[in-house]
């Protein structure tokens, strides 16, 4: 697929629309800086060797927040953002929604159920990469920000103590299995990531379908970065464990470069989905709310096909985007026509142009017209999915 092939949907960009995201980005960066200062007791526990990492994280924070705020300004995103929160915080539904939130986080985020539904191997791939990254982040960020450090317990040199935000958390013997496990946390994380990256690359190398649509920057770059981070990290461990620190400094710099590069890449490429994806939770609450409300009935066949709220919101969004699907007369707006009837209408419009040239006549008119039905009755049971049923009748 060509590199510069993307055509971003048109959007007006006035100065105000840029200023707000810049402000959000600056604000978030500031908040994180303050937290670093506080959490490390005025940099008392801050490891000066990690300063490069800290600044790259601060930059990524700015970039991510800016991009997120820009993204939220797009009419459809803004609509979903607003409606998602409204649906979540709806009076009388909050207890249920809180429960649903945990369930959805467990199913979608923790278990990646929807990815396993696409393909088991892809589910496993994502799971390995995701958990590898999460573990690594959970270990390194507190260390880098000085929020967490370990110290020998004064008086008993066989014990280590973990200190979080300046407060002693727990103690453990330095030659114990726990210690080995904890101090090698990044090794375990890199094993997971490397296994996941291998699976992902294997798929991208051999799959004909993936080959047709994948692009280097979007699909290979993130895998290369993750692999580089994991590999250089492991090399560090190998260097000080078995090789007496051979080339340690060089490897450390190399590792820092890969990590910092990955952070800088976060707001731009595929990694942005990590921050975007939770919107899926909002969509769930929006659909729940829609199911409980009035339905939209197709103005051609009379059948319900979505929630009224969704259709009305889409009409608003389309208006903001500059679309003019308004239809004079009773139909009002094309958005009130269900997808099946839209497809049928296309054939009717083409057929009308051929009238008198090809055989057949329009058959007796009934209103509403019958709902078009998919020709394959097995689609609901067969391997092709139940997509229509799940979506058109909330």
């Amino acid at each position: 697929m060509p590199e510069a092939a993307l055509r971003e949907p048109s959007r007006s960009s006035t100065r105000r629309q840029v200023i707000a995201p810049v402000a959000w980005g600056a604000g978030a960066t500031l908040v994180l800086s303050v937290l670093i200062l506080v959490g490390s007791r005025n940099l008392a526990h801050f490891d000066a060797a990690l300063v490069g990492y800290t600044f790259s994280v601060l930059f990524a924070t700015f970039g991510l927040t800016y991009r997120y705020a820009m993204w939220l300004q797009r009419p459809p995103t803004a609509m979903y953002w607003r409606r998602g929160w409204q649906a979540f915080l709806r009076p009388g539904w909050r207890r249920r929604n809180a429960g649903m939130w945990f369930r959805r986080v467990a199913e979608d985020v923790v278990a990646n159920r929807f990815i396993f539904a696409r393909n088991r191997l892809r589910g496993l791939t994502h799971m390995l990469i995701m958990w590898g990254c999460l573990i690594a982040v959970a270990i390194t960020f507190p260390l880098v920000f000085g929020w967490l450090h370990f110290r020998p317990v004064p008086g008993d040199l066989s014990l280590y103590e973990a200190v979080a935000f300046g407060f002693p958390a727990f103690r453990f013997p330095h030659d114990s299995a726990i210690a080995f496990f904890l101090f090698h946390g990044l090794v375990w994380a890199s094993f997971l990531v490397i296994a996941g990256v291998m699976l992902a690359v294997r798929r991208r190398m051999r799959d004909e379908g993936a080959a047709a649509v994948q692009r280097f920057a979007e699909d290979f770059m993130p895998l290369i970065l993750l692999f580089a981070v994991s590999l250089t990290g492991l090399m560090l461990t190998a260097s000080y464990t078995w090789m007496g620190g051979y080339a340690y400094t060089f490897i450390a710099i190399l590792h820092a470069i890969t990590v910092i590069g990955t952070f800088l890449w976060l707001p731009f490429g595929k990694f942005f989905h990590i921050f975007q994806r939770p919107a899926q939770l909002g969509v769930g609450f929006y659909k729940d709310a829609g199911r409980a409300q009035a339905l939209a009935h197709c103005r051609r066949c009379g059948h319900a096909f979505s929630s009224r709220m969704h259709i009305e919101d889409l009409i608003e969004v389309e208006h903001q985007l500059g679309f003019t699907y308004e239809i004079p007369g009773d139909d009002g707006h094309y958005q009130w026509i269900c997808p099946r009837c839209r497809r049928a209408s296309l054939a009717m419009a083409q057929g009308a142009l051929w009238r008198g040239r090809r055989g057949g006549t329009p058959l007796p008119d009934t209103r509403p017209l019958p709902m078009p039905v998919h020709v394959n009755p097995g689609l609901r049971q067969g391997p092709l999915g139940v997509e229509d049923a799940d979506n058109f009748y909330p």
Partner: protein, 763 residues
């Protein structure tokens, strides 16, 4: 015909154990067939096994499994086009229901059959054949073969019956398919082959499609018809149902089932009245016009309309378009042929072609659309009850002598012509035939009046079936031998245009299964009569077939595997040598028949048609109604047919998941006016009952069928089988059964049928 409904109901009780053991189960693409990262070992150019058009396609093969399909754009007939059956045919291979061993009937075994060693099964088969033939005579053992086999196999089947078994009784399931067209063509033209290649459809000004649901039964032909329409052709469709192609054709004639002869007589009447006929052609190239003209005098538009149920105006319009056309193409299929007067129907259609003089020229033609995979080739080389290779006659002493000479046997030892497939069943019923071998034939599902067929099969002393899946008929067998799928063997097939094409082997037979011809030869050997049945390969059979067909009408002597592959098929007749001064056919063989000045071995230069005088015959076709017409007791016409996703008795296609999803079960199609009278709504269970049986199916209430007719597709077995109702009346000449008309009564069912809750729809 007005007797009480016969009560013998032989449908076996629901047998979930056999179904559990042998299927039909549904295969879907999974694992390697869904993996888009697999590089196939090879792409095998071959043809679809699921109809007579034989679309070219490429099978993707990996590790002896057909994992998918790829269009073969260069093959000229279909240029990559395929119908849903063709696209999903790969799922029949490596199927869980595939028979991997020989089986013997064993009431104690799971599913009623016990796996046994192949050699022992062959030995038992040979012993049973020998016992029956030595006790009751050679003719007490019959053979039923099929028209979906390669031509090589059909040749071997004929040779096996006539030379090894020396039984008179071999026939094939083409008897249920195209034989009326074959007989009509022989009577009119002296040769049985589509007169024109499909290319001639493209340039035709008027296309008349009679009794052919092209969209569902020959989907690729649709593009030819629409392509012609794009260039200005007018399309006339004759059918009791508004099929997809009839929906937007230019003129639709909703004929009452069984009245086709009347329609064509009526059209010819108008052609004569308006002098829309080619006198010069009739004079020069035909005989019999005067008698035919006299016989259609009574077929005024008014009378034609009364009989056919078609409006006078439409009949006049059809006659005018057909009569005044510059170029034209008439094609028909089973709708015209599946009748007790099927040959007459065909000849009446040919009469309007001959009267127009538009045949044997570019863009002017006539053809029957064959239904089975090798519907054309399967009826040419000796597996028909009265036939020898090359389209020769078993009753003709010269032909007997020639073929006996090729086979190295005494002509006197060749049996005399036997009886047709249904008559074989009747002879089994009366006890005259004691043993049966069937291959590529599922009579329990495909023959009419299936209760009678079942009852007969149960009487057999010995029944051996060669099949790749345990078909419904195989459940009546004593021994089942594991045969080969289309993709497991090679050979040639002759498709609907008369084009001989190459079937290439994609995978090896699994387990103990082996190519059908090897099984036949193994039986011959076990009988100690292997003379002439020691072929090593299909190519060897083809080489002998070339010699055996040489000089016959269906002359393949000039065709070779290499020539086929080089020219994307070769049209027969393709003689290897002809008298001096006569040009040999071009590299593609004889693409178009009856061209002015063409030579053939019958006319020997006297004219283009295959009679000694070189002239075509117009045959008088007096209208005779269907064998069983409606009456007060059974007031509705039942007609049967196909759906696009299933093939014949469904032994293969009912095991392919995506095709079953497409049309999971048969429905009884009826017009809302009829449904309203019967109190039936769309989706209700409705019971159709004839004098022979009854059948409860869901109703499909649609205005796309005549209000006096109901339609049931025939691909399903047991309680869903349309052939429980159909009548075994046959055409006196072609012996084709009358699948397209019988009388039924329909009512709303009291309750859903027992099977509805117990079985999957395809079972």
């Amino acid at each position: 015909m007005n007797g009480p409904a016969r009560t013998t109901d032989t449908t076996p009780p629901l047998d979930r154990e056999t179904i559990g053991a042998f299927g039909p189960h549904l295969a879907y693409a999974k694992d390697g067939r869904l993996d888009t990262g697999i590089e196939p070992d090879k792409y095998v150019k071959t043809h679809c096994c699921f109809c007579g058009q034989q679309c070219g396609m490429q099978l993707k093969v990996k590790d002896n499994v057909v994992i998918g399909v790829e269009p073969w754009y260069e093959f000229p007939f279909n240029k990559g086009m395929m119908c849903p059956k063709g696209i999903k045919r790969y799922l029949q291979q490596a199927h869980p229901d595939r028979l991997l061993h020989a089986y013997a009937k064993d009431a104690g075994a799971t599913g009623g059959f016990r796996a046994m060693a192949y050699d022992a099964a062959i030995r038992q088969t040979a012993e049973a054949i020998d016992r029956i033939q030595s006790t009751h005579g050679n003719d007490a053992f019959a053979v039923l073969s099929g028209a979906s086999l390669t031509t090589e196999k059909t040749y071997v089947m004929g040779k096996f019956a006539h030379m090894c078994l020396r039984t008179a009784h071999i026939d094939y399931n083409g008897r249920l398919c195209m034989v009326s067209a074959a007989a009509g063509n022989k009577k009119a033209f002296g040769i049985d082959r589509a007169a024109n290649p499909w290319e001639d459809i493209l340039g035709a000004g008027v296309i008349l499609v009679s009794g052919a649901n092209i969209a569902e039964c020959a989907p690729i032909t649709t593009n030819y018809v629409w392509q012609a329409r794009e260039q200005g052709a007018k399309v006339i469709v004759v059918d009791p149902r508004i099929t997809p192609i009839a929906r937007t054709c230019d003129l639709f004639l909703p004929v009452k089932p069984g009245r086709d002869t009347a329609l064509f007589n009526g059209i010819l009447h108008l052609m004569i009245e308006h002098d829309w006929i080619d006198h010069a052609f009739l004079e020069q190239h035909t005989v019999g016009f005067e008698a035919v003209a006299a016989s259609v005098r009574e077929w005024t538009p008014q009378r034609t309309a009364e009989v056919t149920g078609i409006a006078v105006k439409s009949i006049q319009q059809a006659a005018e378009w057909w009569g005044t056309a510059e170029t034209s193409f008439l094609c028909h299929a089973r709708g015209l042929e599946h009748h007790s007067n099927g040959v007459k129907n065909v000849m009446s259609a040919i009469n309007i072609v001959l009267a127009s003089g538009r045949i044997g020229r570019p863009n002017c033609g006539y053809a029957t659309i064959t239904g089975q995979g090798n519907g054309q080739g399967g009826r040419e080389h000796g597996q028909k009850c009265d036939q020898l290779p090359g389209g020769r006659d078993l009753a003709n002493p010269e032909h007997r002598e020639y073929v006996a000479g090729v086979w190295g046997m005494d002509p006197a030892a060749l049996p005399q012509p036997g009886v047709d497939a249904y008559e074989i069943i009747r002879k089994i019923d009366t006890g005259e035939i004691k043993g049966l071998l069937s291959l590529c034939f599922n009579p329990v599902v495909s023959l009419p009046d299936s209760h009678f067929v079942r009852q007969a099969l149960e009487k057999l002393d010995f029944y051996v079936v060669i099949d790749f899946f345990l078909s419904e008929s195989a459940r009546y067998a004593h021994i089942v031998l594991p045969g080969s799928l289309h993709e497991e063997d090679e050979g040639t097939v002759t498709q609907t245009e008369g084009r001989v094409v190459r079937i290439n082997k994609a995978v090896e037979c699994p387990g103990e299964a082996r190519p059908d011809w090897q099984i036949i030869q193994d039986i011959a050997k076990a009988l100690g009569r292997e003379q002439g049945l020691t072929f090593e390969s299909p190519r060897e059979m083809f080489e002998e077939l070339r010699v055996a067909s040489k000089g016959g009408i269906a002359d393949y002597s000039g065709i070779s595997y290499e020539r086929i592959e080089e020219h994307y098929g070769v049209f027969w007749p393709c003689p290897s040598d002809v008298p001096d001064g006569v040009p040999l056919p071009g590299p593609q063989g004889t693409v178009r028949l009856f061209e002015p000045g063409s030579w053939n071995p019958v006319a020997r230069g006297a004219g283009p048609f295959y009679f000694p005088d070189g002239k075509a015959r117009l045959n008088v076709t007096p209208y005779v109604g269907p064998a069983e017409d409606v009456d007060e007791e059974f007031p509705i016409i039942l007609t049967t047919g196909r759906v696009v996703s299933q093939f014949l008795s469904g032994n293969q296609t009912r095991r392919i998941g995506p095709l079953v999803d497409h049309c999971p079960e048969p429905r009884i199609e009826m017009h809302p006016r009829l449904a309203a009278r019967l109190g039936i709504a769309d989706g209700d269970w409705a019971t159709a009952e004839s004098r022979r049986g009854h059948c409860t199916l869901r109703a499909s209430v649609v205005t796309t069928i005549r209000p006096d007719t109901v339609f049931i597709p025939y691909h399903w077995p047991g309680r869903k089988s349309a052939n429980q109702l159909t009548i075994a009346a046959q055409d006196p000449i072609s012996k084709i059964p009358e699948y397209k008309v019988c009388a039924v009564r329909v009512r709303k069912a009291d309750a859903p049928p027992e099977y509805a809750a117990a079985l999957e729809p395809q079972q």
